[in-house]
Symmetry: C2
Subunit: 333 residues, 2 copies
């Protein structure tokens, strides 16, 4: 059978409470005794049962991690970073992958039943009611890449408008005049902000859009929409895409039509996913600061988790962190 704290206590000649303390950082226990208990535990192959510990203690070490479908390169990149950082903080991610638009109330409730210490939500939509429930259950949520309407949930998000400003600036100053836009999934937070940023950047320069199409953030949609744009009577000399994946598709479209990139048409993305740097693409884009985003999200979460043990009367206001994207100039524009 599994070895238990009682077994260790007996073997070490101490009380069960002491073996618990030996494994609890900062618990009152003589240094020598701790060393002894730990040694005995090691020799017996004992590890505290985290489930039992979770029942009593204040934390389970579990964090719900909600991301979009990782077959999409940006999501994969985000997940990879988050999962690594969560583990580095000695927590375990409970993974929930959702399709765009998925209601995740049910799934998150389920995660709550596991007494997760908190949740990082980078996809799907959570109702205000659920966010409220999470707070009450002592499981803070932090949103990534989106900001909840009420403004009472912590969030960390890239400055999408600035990103488009940087891209338009780059294109305009390299003499591009006829800009077209391929937007991502409509109604998504990022798409709304990016489109908005684009329109502002153009307005600021007295420019206007030649054409706008709508994709769904996938490579295929970028390909299809770019094909339409590039076979229209009046062709754009630059296509801004709502994310990198669509931009990769747009590059493929241009090539299929025998157009040179950036000679005939400049193409830009958003995110700077790993594939953006690959040989056949060399995509000019803006970098979504995924690592900084992850660290900030974890910091906010940690802050709430600690805070929750303090005075309950006044929850500090929600913190919204905006991170700046960086222009990455490669060959495509």
């Amino acid at each position: 059978m599994r070895v238990t704290a009682d077994d260790v206590a007996e073997a070490a000649g101490v009380s069960r409470a002491m073996v618990s303390r030996a494994f609890t950082e900062g618990a009152p226990i003589a240094a020598r005794k701790r060393a002894h208990v730990l040694a005995v535990a090691e020799s017996l192959g004992y590890r505290p049962n985290r489930i039992a510990r979770g029942l009593t203690g204040s934390q389970t070490g579990l964090i719900a991690l909600v991301v979009g479908a990782v077959s999409r390169p940006y999501e994969a990149w985000l997940l990879e970073t988050m999962s690594r950082e969560i583990r580095a903080a000695r927590n375990w991610p409970l993974l929930l992958q959702v399709q765009p638009g998925d209601e995740l109330d049910n799934a998150l409730e389920d995660a709550l039943a596991y007494q997760v210490d908190g949740a990082i939500v980078a996809a799907g939509s959570v109702s205000p009611a659920l966010a409220e429930r999470c707070r009450n259950s002592g499981a803070p949520i932090v949103m990534v890449g989106r900001i909840m309407p009420g403004g009472d949930t912590d969030a960390v998000c890239c400055d999408n408008r600035l990103g488009l400003e940087l891209l338009v600036d780059h294109l305009a100053s390299s003499g591009r005049k006829k800009l077209a836009w391929i937007g991502g999934t409509p109604e998504t937070f990022s798409n709304i902000e990016r489109h908005d940023g684009l329109m502002q950047a153009l307005a600021r320069r007295g420019m206007k859009l030649l054409a706008a199409r709508q994709g769904d953030y996938s490579v295929d949609s970028g390909l299809a929409q770019a094909l339409t744009l590039l076979t229209a009577p009046e062709k754009p000399d630059a296509i801004l895409c709502g994310n990198d994946a669509m931009a990769l598709g747009a590059i493929a479209a241009a090539r299929r039509l025998g157009l040179s990139v950036p000679g005939d048409v400049a193409i830009t993305g958003f995110d700077d996913i790993p594939a953006a740097a690959w040989e056949p693409y060399q995509l000019t884009t803006v970098r979504n600061p995924v690592l900084e985003t992850t660290r900030e999200a974890l910091r906010l979460l940690r802050q709430r988790i600690e805070g929750r043990s303090g005075t309950h009367d006044s929850d500090p206001a929600a913190e919204i962190v905006r991170l700046s994207p960086e222009l990455i100039i490669r060959q495509s524009a």
Copy 2:
């Protein structure tokens, strides 16, 4: 505070045991009473605490899921499929992402402390000692894409040799004579089998390899190695790559050198990741049956988990499932 089973019991006018039974499939409870308890629970917003349940009951519903870095497309595809299927089975994946070659004993021990019901290991290396420990802790392991030397751990794995046989057959019958190979990370199970399968397929036809290079399963390594092959004095007329990612790199290399694919050189991959079908690639490859693999892995795991509650005296022998890859012919070969 959180509402507890006692609260529900009181509100419903039954014992705490009955509310537990109401939430336990197949537990002895009158249908009407169950409905009543469930209704009361719902109105109170009660959900059984899975941590408490895990302490008493026989299952936690947690499954450790070990995959390689998901920035790699095959791993992303696998993770996406596995996480979806695990959730569909109403379990939660505890995600562990590892780098190739990572010893995952420590991490898995940690997962064991969470009383996971089992583990699916698709990356990293687990020592026989750990596999043993897992079995003893009642947390069966099933390996995916690799088979443990001892042969006493369940595994499901693609028939790598058959895959190469299909590819060589296709190339040979389209008249290719000078075949080159770009292998993946050496010492990995898949690489050894694929290389082996290649050599067997060639031998069977009295052919031999023009050249062999070694990559690391990344796009960049495929690009670099293909560049070398394609600038050598004697160029291959076909390059077989150990996986799709390297094949995508190889296609980029050919293009960079102004060679046509498949005109000047045929290029093949392995896996059939989503990107293989993308416009600029149109990769001919063999499909690694990821969904079937996932389902088989879950079936094996489930089988062990159920089995463990039965008679303990004789563990059924390990089951090794081999799944056949399928040739997917596109443009690149």
